[in-house]
Symmetry: C2
Subunit: 142 residues, 2 copies
């Protein structure tokens, strides 16, 4: 059973076959799928599920705070179910794959008041970009 599904059910979400399938596709660690990837995987379990429903469902999960939206490139947004453990992202410059990482330090504390321009900061995102060092060969995944 999916942890994500459990959390959503616990919030009184009306359960449908479509929502269940989307939650199951997203369940797990280091999952960073685009909406269309989610749709493709959902279709293989529930052939009649529509694109619109996948977009709606992902949007609701984000609103509920159970899934994070990640915009690492200018392309499609990615959806990250690991919303309850703070983490940042490492993006592979070769293949675009994303891995959760856990830096030390506190980037929020690093921004002095004078550099906040009267804003209350609610969120800080750190994106590391890099390439695999020589020891990895081209088919490796991160």
């Amino acid at each position: 059973m999916s942890d994500l599904l459990e959390r959503l059910r616990g919030r009184g979400w009306r359960m449908t076959a479509q929502r269940r399938v989307v939650a199951e596709v997203l369940d797990g660690d280091h999952v960073h799928l685009t909406a269309d990837e989610v749709h493709a995987r959902a279709v293989s379990r529930l052939p009649e599920i529509s694109r619109a429903t996948v977009y709606n469902t992902l949007g609701e999960m984000v609103t509920l705070g159970e899934v994070l939206e990640v915009a690492t490139d200018g392309r499609a947004k990615r959806y990250d179910p690991n919303a309850h453990r703070p983490h940042q992202h490492l993006v592979c410059g070769r293949c675009g794959a994303i891995r959760d990482v856990h830096p030390g330090g506190d980037p929020l504390a690093d921004l002095p008041d004078a550099e906040r321009f009267g804003f209350t900061i609610s969120n800080v995102e750190v994106t590391y970009r890099g390439r695999p060092s020589l020891l990895l060969s081209s088919g490796d995944r991160i």
Copy 2:
């Protein structure tokens, strides 16, 4: 005369009216325009400039390292001519405006080897999101 234009010229870039206009539109501090915004401003100076040329030109500037591409939301990429002074971004959660900020600390040093997964990190981006505190009123710009 535009600093950006100077730098591009110094690299042996073939100069055309279109490229000059795009460089002039992008010149300055705290500039974070989308491609279509650049196009709109370019058209007002050179009515026949095409969208394709604006996209091509921005892409070349990014390749040359003279302009940074910023993807703060899942929408259009923004182009930042402030490529030669390290900085990060503060994004207004109300209006989407972007301001350059200069945090202390070193986010690269904050990522332990064990969290690099064999990658050589080439770049770190930090995005702060927040809302104006009460003292600002709704028409204010950052």
